[in-house]
Amino acid sequence: MNPTLHGVGLSIVERPTPEDDAEIVAACVAGDVAAQRALFRREYPRVNATVYRLVGSARDADDLVQETFIAVFRGLARFRGDSKLATWIDRIAVRVVFHHIRARGKTPVPLDVIGDVEASGGTTDAQAHARDGLRRLYGALAELTPEARTAFALFAIDGRSINEVAQLTQTSFVAAKCRIWRARREIMKRAKVDPVLAELVTEGER
């Protein structure tokens, strides 16, 4: 409701930030930059987290998040509302990252890339240990096929269900499951000879 200044004869027309998907999409398509910024701010935390977990590099993640949102805003006119807007955006993000991973090939993760990961322990040693573990994990992921890496990272790191992985990678449930399974087998094989990686991926496992 718009507040009215009674007795003055003026009403303040507030322009609420649209929250409904259809509303925000319509505003963005119409070129409303405020709506685009609102959509970006609403979706950024999740997209950033997913992209970062897929690539393991803050620097790459920033570029890929931008690339994702450019694709989102350029393609928003074609969004038909068949799925949730968030799912549609996530699918674009996964596709953008997939192409990045495939184009980059098996380049090892640079040492400084996982620099701002905070270890849960908080001490310098714990942080260094956590960084080392993640560096090894992403090194192992770099050896996988882009398909297996994407599926595995979405499932094991980003915490998506297999159904979601299938949906985001636009493949069948069985195919998603197979990719995750194959990736897991490779990671575990590597963990057998790498105690730091083993600690990261198998700690607490019975």
């Binding site: 930059v33 685009q36 910024r37 970006f40 701010r41 950024y44 935390p45 950033n48 987290a49 970062y52 977990r53 393991g56 803050a58 993640a61 920033d62 998040v65 931008q66 949102f69 450019i70 805003f73 393609g75 074609r78 038909r80 068949d82 699918r91 996964v94 596709r95 997939f98 495939r102 701002d116 990961v117 905070e118 849960s120 993640l134 882009p146 398909e147 994407t150 599926a151 094991a156 915490g159 297999i162 990678t169 636009q170 493949t171 069948s172 449930f173 069985v174 195919a175 499951k177 197979c178 995750i180 399974w181 897991r184 990671i187 575990m188 991926v201 198998t202 700690e203 607490g204 496992e205």
Partner: protein, 370 residues
Amino acid sequence: MKKIVVDPPMSESRRTRVEQQLFQQLAAVRVADRAEAVIPPAKKNRNGYVFGFAAIAAAAAILLFITRDGGGGQTVAPPSRVVTPIGGETRFMIGGEAVVDAKSDTSVKWQQGSDGSITLTLERGAVDCQVEPRHGRPPFKVMSGDVTVIVVGTRFTVTRTPSPRVDVAHGKVRVEAPGGTWFVEAGESWTPISVTAIEEEPAPTPVAAADPEIEMAPVSVARPKKAAPIVAPTAAVEKPSAAPIEPPETKELAKLAYTAAQKLERTDPKLAAANYRAISIGKDSYWGAIALIALAELDIKQGDPQAALEVLDEHARRFPSSSMREDAGWFRIEALRTMGKRDEARGAAADYLREFPDGVYVKLAKKLVQ
């Protein structure tokens, strides 16, 4: 394997920086779009004055037609025509989702329909199109004489003069003609008199496979292509009842056939099922087991859980130590649930939990048992 915790960097300054850069880029993109809609950029890698002059001439021709049509710089309705002179080439974008290279001495008209569909009419010459996978987007068609090319998503070239021809750079195309249906894959070419496999191996399939296909009709007689690298969907399309799909002979062929069947699930589930069935009786037991599980999943999706159960029984009988047993267990639960047999589904879930206490579907199965 436990869930791996990776906390993403979430500082406000990082978000602000990304946001700033993003909106700067978006502003730049909008400017580029407006410019591109008026004068498409010529290819930069051409040498010599002849090509430079030709590109300018082509741009001028486009500008002339846009202006004549009332222009305004929009990429929708009314039709626009691109004409390139002999020796000249030009590139233009349509709706941000297709990049078209008009070759030398080409005349092509394009129009966007009210439903967003895009139609290119090739009057002469050749166009090289790179089209975004459709995935529910409006159709993209290229008409060349009496041949219509309906794009699902691929990169291809359609030539009208001197003679009709389709070259596929990525993906796969389907050619339908009165004499039958042929698949032409990446690296292959199609003409009305022959389909020649230039490369034996198909292009690798990306995740989020685009199902790149072109449907063509009508065309004159073509002979079947020489080398079908996989359990060819082609054969089944040509003679669905008379020619059963042959099981793949090797692991590699089984893998390729499986990939093909996955793609077919969306467009032709029956054919996909036939492919899965063929793979399941092939020589490679690894892909055979996976194909049976995929078939069971497809049966459930197609609303036939009884068939899925039969397939799962077959899987248990033929592949008792398969790595897909866990999935088989889960799909059995799914099939029973779909059939409304809740008690049996609960029993199957309990069986699953006993056999796979650390399985991937444990949470779901536990919910069901409770």
